[in-house]
């Protein structure tokens, strides 16, 4: 898994590329933690290039959501592929986190 991080005026973007599984989850968690520590608690996880996600990957997302909310920011998902969407649905995590169509729309509320 490759992990791309970029920061913008109003939010930061984390882009996991490839398979987000148990072996990649700790790195995603670290990346999110670093963004928050650096003062970027509004984070979009761009899932467009994520081919596959397992429960450990989802666990890292929830951990990130917790950390971001504690820092008075938020963590949002964008552009999930069909395979990722199906895992979100299978675990009913789609009841908690919305998959926004694009990264730009994720923080559309300002």
């Amino acid at each position: 898994m490759n992990l791309n991080v970029s920061t913008h005026a109003h939010h930061a973007v984390v882009r996991p590329e490839g398979r987000l599984t148990a072996s990649g989850a700790p790195r995603l968690k670290q990346a999110i933690k670093k963004l928050i520590d650096d003062g970027h608690p509004r984070i979009v996880v761009d899932l467009a290039q994520t081919e596959f996600i397992d429960s450990s990957g989802l666990g890292a997302l929830i951990g990130g959501l917790k950390a971001a909310r504690l820092a008075e920011g938020d963590l949002r998902l964008a552009a999930a592929s069909d395979s990722v969407k199906s895992v979100l649905k299978l675990t009913s995590l789609d009841r908690v986190l919305r998959d926004h169509p694009t990264v730009e729309e994720a923080f559309g509320d300002g």
């Binding site: 429960s55 450990s56 666990g59 959501l65 909310r69 504690l70 299978l90 995590l93 789609d94 986190l97």
Partner: protein, 652 residues
């Protein structure tokens, strides 16, 4: 189907049919209503036993004897050795053996005792060492489940081999078990037997459970309900994490729904109270509408994180408006006060502000701030991060002190499968004294009853009928303590006072009871196939006070939230001190009463005041009970395996 299984099924059907024949007759035609106070409890106890027979027959119906996996072992593995207070040397012996497991893996010591010497020993051997992260400070720790959950987030193997601190693994343990996960992608658990090396043939504490780690687990396996027993098992990480996430979502949905309801009520009440402050009232009414809309949005399927995020923003905006309004009011008041010359301190020329009055402003009754504050508290409860728990995701179930059973039931309910692999691949240490053993059994029984009360398998969604019965069967067996009281009392009451729970000890009784009894024994014999089950039978009666205490304490725990006074099983040998007579007084009392009853019964026959057949039946019954209970005396005198071996050899 094997000939053995056909035989088991024939005998199982016969056992249940003869049982129904006997118990129906008991209810319809044999009750001595004049002594209903013992007659009715006895027939209820017998009905309980019939249900037990039925559940055992179902368990054995599809017993599965696996040859071993077909696939080659594959995947990455973490080996977890869980410890809390066991001696460092014991843990390290297990850890060194774990390191030698032939299949490639990482070994971790999960030290819930957070001991520096444990950490040093593990690191010296190049092993992983994990303790609770700082997230756990001041949060519920959830014992072993919490220890494992903590480690799951610090490691990344696809499969996890879990070992108690005393369970020395065989180097081939992973080679023999991992293939099952390749055979079937839905397999989440492979359990192997627990076997104890510090127990000799006599096994006075009944530590080996050959019937359970054998026919019973194989029977449950046939219904895809092999149990997870906490150690010597391999688990699929993805399955556990999925469990954690689904549990998180469910918990969040419930708590959000509850919190929003409460917030609506609170806002309505505060709005009524604040009629005197119109600005506040309007604000509260508006907030209430927002909360109601949020609730409706979630019901209609909007993601919870979005809805609560927006609601947070709305409430924050509203409370800053209110605070501003309050501040403006205070400023006005101060200006007014300022205008009054009498309020100035004559000497200092400064304004005298009544501190008490100011404080009162911020208290609940006087200030609109308070209303917003309590709403704020509710909103805090709306957080998606489970602030009351160290981890939002808890893969291993925390609803019971026996996390293993609860976790396996969750896995089964979500469609995962389990495997029982009948080959000893780890060898451990059993408790070496009666007290420790009693505590261990109590904990197992309490944990099982907690699961029954919190997550009843008969009502749980996602389980098959067979799985429901397999879980329920184990729970049902722990009700045996109540039946035991009746089984022990009835013959004593008859032999001492001649009170008969049945109309007559007639030919009818023998014709119906004996076939049921004998076929039942035959079923056990066939199922056990030479395994010695007498120890288990003895303890299932002899531990009746433990079973009863487990039922009452777990009921008090689940319903009235009373703590269970949980104790970790000691595995480093015997505790010092005198004979623990206090722990087994009910059994000792029962033994004395049974012997007195036996003597009285014989005297009464000799005097001609008692019926010969009745006395014979009850005498046999009492002798059986005494034989079973006598294990308690053996166990009391037991001084651990070393001493036992010396005695056997006749050494000084």
């Amino acid at each position: 189907m094997s000939r053995r299984l056909i035989l088991i099924r024939v005998v199982a059907v016969l056992a249940v049919l003869t049982g129904i024949n006997y118990v129906t007759w008991r209810w319809m035609d044999s009750l001595n209503w004049e002594a209903w106070w013992i007659a009715v409890p006895l027939v209820i106890a017998e009905t309980y036993s019939l249900v037990d027979t039925f559940l055992f027959a179902i368990t054995m119906w599809r017993a599965k004897e696996r040859e071993g996996p077909e696939s080659a072992p594959a995947g990455t593995v973490d080996v977890f050795i869980t410890t809390y207070n066991e001696p460092v040397e014991m843990v390290m012996a297990t850890a060194r053996a774990a390191k030698l497991i032939a299949y490639p893996h990482e070994t971790y010591v999960l030290d819930d005792g957070n001991r520096p010497e444990m950490a040093a020993a593990a690191r010296a051997e190049g092993l992983g060492y994990i303790t609770r992260s700082e997230d756990w400070t001041d949060k519920p720790r959830h014992a072993k489940a919490g220890n494992l959950n903590n480690a799951l987030f610090e490691t990344d193997g696809e499969f996890l081999l879990i070992l108690d601190a005393d369970q020395i693994p065989d180097p081939l343990i992973l080679h023999r078990t991992l293939g099952y996960f390749g055979d079937d992608e839905q397999v989440a658990l492979v359990q192997t037997p627990q076997w104890f090396i510090n127990v000799d043939e006599a096994d006075p504490l009944g530590s080996q459970a050959p019937l359970f780690y054998g026919p019973i687990q194989q029977g449950k396996d046939g219904w895809n309900a092999a149990f997870f027993c906490g150690s010597n098992a391999v688990l699929r990480r993805d399955a556990l994490m999925q469990l954690g996430i689904v549990g998180y979502v469910r918990n969040l949905q419930d708590s959000t729904e509850r919190t929003l309801r409460a917030a609506e009520k609170l806002l309505a009440r505060e709005a009524r109270r604040s009629q005197s402050v119109p600005e506040l009232q309007t604000e509260l009414k508006d907030l209430r509408i927002e909360v109601a809309q949020a609730r409706a949005a979630i019901t209609s399927g909007e993601p919870i994180a979005d809805v609560t995020y927006q609601l947070h923003a709305t409430i924050n905006a509203s409370s800053s408006r209110l605070v501003k309004h309050d501040m403006d009011m205070m400023a006005e008041d101060l200006a007014a006060i300022n205008a009054l010359p009498v309020q100035r301190d004559a000497e200092l020329g400064a304004l005298v502000i009544d501190q008490v009055g100011l404080d009162a402003l911020t208290t609940r009754e006087l200030s609109p701030l308070a209303a917003v504050k309590s709403v704020g508290a509710l909103v805090d409860a709306l957080r998606v991060d489970r602030p009351d728990e160290a981890q939002p995701i808890q893969p291993l179930a925390t609803i019971s002190v026996t996390e293993d059973m609860a976790t396996a039931m969750q896995l089964h309910s979500m469609g995962w499968r389990s495997v029982y692999h009948h080959e000893i691949l780890a060898r451990g240490l059993a408790p070496e004294d009666l007290q420790t053993m009693l505590k261990q059994r109590l904990r197992w029984a309490q944990g099982t009853m907690q699961v029954l009360l919190r997550d009843n398998p008969l009502a749980k969604r996602g389980l098959s009928a067979g799985q429901r019965l397999m879980y329920f069967g184990t729970m049902w067996s722990y009700l045996a303590g109540f039946a035991a009281i009746v089984y022990l009392s009835a013959p004593v009451i008859y032999l001492m006072f001649g009170v008969m729970p049945v109309n007559a000890w007639s030919g009818d009784f023998f014709a119906r009871f004996l076939p049921y009894f004998l076929i039942n024994q035959l079923m056990f014999l066939i199922v056990a196939r030479g395994i010695r089950t007498w120890r288990g039978q003895q303890y299932s009666l002899a531990l009746f006070p433990v079973w009863i205490r487990a039922c009452t304490s777990s009921f008090a725990n689940v319903v009235f939230k009373k703590p269970l006074s949980f104790v970790v099983t000691r595995k480093d040998g015997r505790q010092d001190g005198a004979l623990p007579l206090r722990e087994v007084w009910p059994q000792l009392t029962a033994i004395v009463l049974l012997i007195l009853a036996l003597i009285t019964g014989i005297i009464r026959v000799l005097l001609g005041t008692a019926d010969g057949t009745g006395t014979l039946v009850n005498t046999v019954w009492v002798v059986y009970s005494l034989a079973a209970l006598s294990i308690v005396i053996q166990a009391l005198r037991y001084k651990g395996p070393a001493a036992h071996a010396e005695e056997a050899e006749g050494a000084p």
